[in-house]
């Protein structure tokens, strides 16, 4: 990779990325760009199918698409050149290979930083840029209604093609066939090529019914047979990926385990009071507060936030919180909520819902699958009292939350019923000692006693 870049400074290779610790190969499902298209670093340019899910892959470089080398349907090894990108003029040092370590790869930041100055001045907050990035909205196209014409979150959300089906903001990827996630899934299952389907949704978006119609009419061009594995094969492949990763974790990582029972009275009372005022679309679940506390505590105890690589701990520069999400029909993915410690609980909640929805629809982004710096499993949702997790290598800690439930608690010489949650920490003993882990759980507990400050 480095050699290729030196030999041809004007051309960057877009490689099959590593989208999980144990990914060996991937299938190009779809190109969202065509030769001649101008792209920016962080733009989603291809959909790649892995054993686990279809992933939206972002470009690591800005420039013009020169050539698409791998055809949709082809399965190639990690590191294979998928496309050539003629590089735009860049400041030195910006160019980077696709397979950089997760800790160093933060397309979101680069994208926000790369926006034109004029745009940045109109934007009221980093949060708005986060939201715009998440929704794929070009801020230069958004009309601001805030103070002095600043762009508010509502402006961004209005611009982002709401479910009601308004005209979406034009995106640079004009070649892309718009389709709903469900339509994509059905198309994959029925082996229908979306390019041959007439969309009846807003702006020509292909909907499920369109796909089924195309499949029934036999007009669609069939995909290559190996393009997308059938559901059963996928479930088995997912199992194997999880099996390899977890076996590696238990083989390599000397886990130590700690637990603490945390009083949730203050947190639950605060949640309840807030939710009374809120419309259901805005309501918080306890998980949002637990995740927020886990993320902020990771900043307090930074030696648990990062990676064990080459026999040493490499701290991460931000907290990207991996969240274990079970998929309907089996399987597990652990995508990251970027900068989770910086998000207010309401925004974290929004991100969480968005992430779960997209994980289950098979529309996660590559950066989400590779960027997690510490992970959380919230198995309490399924009713268990506590969960001791298995660390995702090369991360060094996994936080577990059990069910929030009323239990007898002794306080001030009296026993009363209070909501509590058992928080656990599984941590890599190579990177930290139990004393450090204890500090982490204490930090989580203290944060949850002051929910209003989070």
């Amino acid at each position: 990779m480095a050699d290729a870049e030196m030999a041809d400074a004007e051309m960057a290779d877009f490689l099959m990325p590593v989208l999980g610790a144990d990914m060996d190969e991937g299938t190009v499902v779809e190109w969202l760009v065509k030769p001649g298209d101008e792209i920016h670093k962080g733009d989603v340019i291809a959909v790649v199918d892995t054993a686990k899910a279809a992933i939206e892959v972002e470009s690591f470089a800005s420039g013009t698409v020169e050539q698409l080398i791998v055809e949709p349907g082809q399965t190639v090894a990690v590191g294979t050149v998928l496309a050539k990108i003629a590089a735009a003029r860049r400041p030195p040092g910006e160019k980077r290979p696709a397979e950089k370590r997760p800790a160093e790869k933060r397309p979101g930041e680069k994208r926000a930083a790369g926006k034109r100055t004029a745009v940045r001045q109109e934007v009221s907050s980093p949060l708005v840029r986060h939201v715009a990035e998440r929704l794929g909205v070009d801020l230069s196209q958004v009309h601001g209604t805030g103070q002095a014409g600043s762009i508010t979150r509502a402006d961004v959300e209005r611009a982002a093609a709401p479910p009601a089906g308004e005209q979406p903001v034009p995106r640079p990827d004009g070649a892309r066939r718009r389709a709903t996630p469900l339509a994509r899934r059905i198309a994959a299952e029925l082996a229908v090529d979306l390019a041959g389907v007439a969309g009846t949704g807003p702006d020509g978006t292909v909907r499920e019914a369109d796909v089924r119609r195309a499949a029934g009419a036999g007009t669609a061009v069939p995909r290559q047979a190996q393009a997308v594995p059938a559901a059963a094969a996928r479930a088995q492949a997912t199992r194997q990926v999880t099996a390899r990763l977890m076996a590696r974790s238990k083989r390599e990582i000397p886990h130590y385990y700690l637990s603490d029972t945390i009083d949730m009275s203050a947190a639950m009372a605060w949640l309840h009071a807030r939710n009374l005022e809120l419309e259901v679309t805005e309501r918080l679940v306890p998980a949002a507060l637990l995740l927020k506390a886990a993320a902020v505590a990771a900043r307090t105890v930074p030696v648990l936030n990062g990676f064990w690589t080459d026999d040493r701990f490499v701290p991460a520069t931000a907290v990207h919180l991996g969240v274990a999400i079970s998929l309907r029909g089996g399987g597990l993915v652990t995508p990251a909520i970027h900068h989770a410690a910086d998000l207010p609980p309401f925004e974290l909640m929004r991100k969480l819902r968005d992430l779960v929805t997209r994980a289950r629809a098979g529309r996660l982004r590559g950066s989400e699958l590779t960027d997690a710096t510490i992970s959380v499993t919230n198995l309490g949702e399924q009713g268990v009292e506590l969960v001791y997790g298995v660390i995702y290598p090369p991360q060094v800690a996994l936080v577990g939350f059990g069910k929030v439930a009323e239990r007898p608690v002794a306080a001030g010489g009296l026993v009363g019923a209070r909501p509590v949650v058992v928080a656990t920490l599984a941590a890599d003993h190579r990177a930290t000692d139990g004393y450090t882990g204890a500090r982490y759980l204490t930090a989580v507990s203290e944060l949850l006693q002051r929910p209003e400050d989070m």
Binding site: H272, L276, V280, V285, A287, S326, R353
Partner: protein, 88 residues
Amino acid sequence: MNTEEATRAIEEVLSQVAPDAELESLAPDADLRGTLELDSLDFLSFVEGLSKRVGQRIDEDDYPKLATMASATAFISGRNSHPVTDTA
């Protein structure tokens, strides 16, 4: 809203939240969250969808009334002991 309409509304929303659920085989008194494996976000989506579908506000305190098909139907059709305030 009568019982039949309420049942239909609930089933409609549930099938959106849990597309793979077999609602026909769901016992009236089966716990919805446990049986359909709804996590707290799924359940919130259910509440959200139902609130929109039937045009009535559903508060957190009402959640226990949505525990089973039978109790949810009673709640939505207004046959529960606690009258529901309308918010459009």
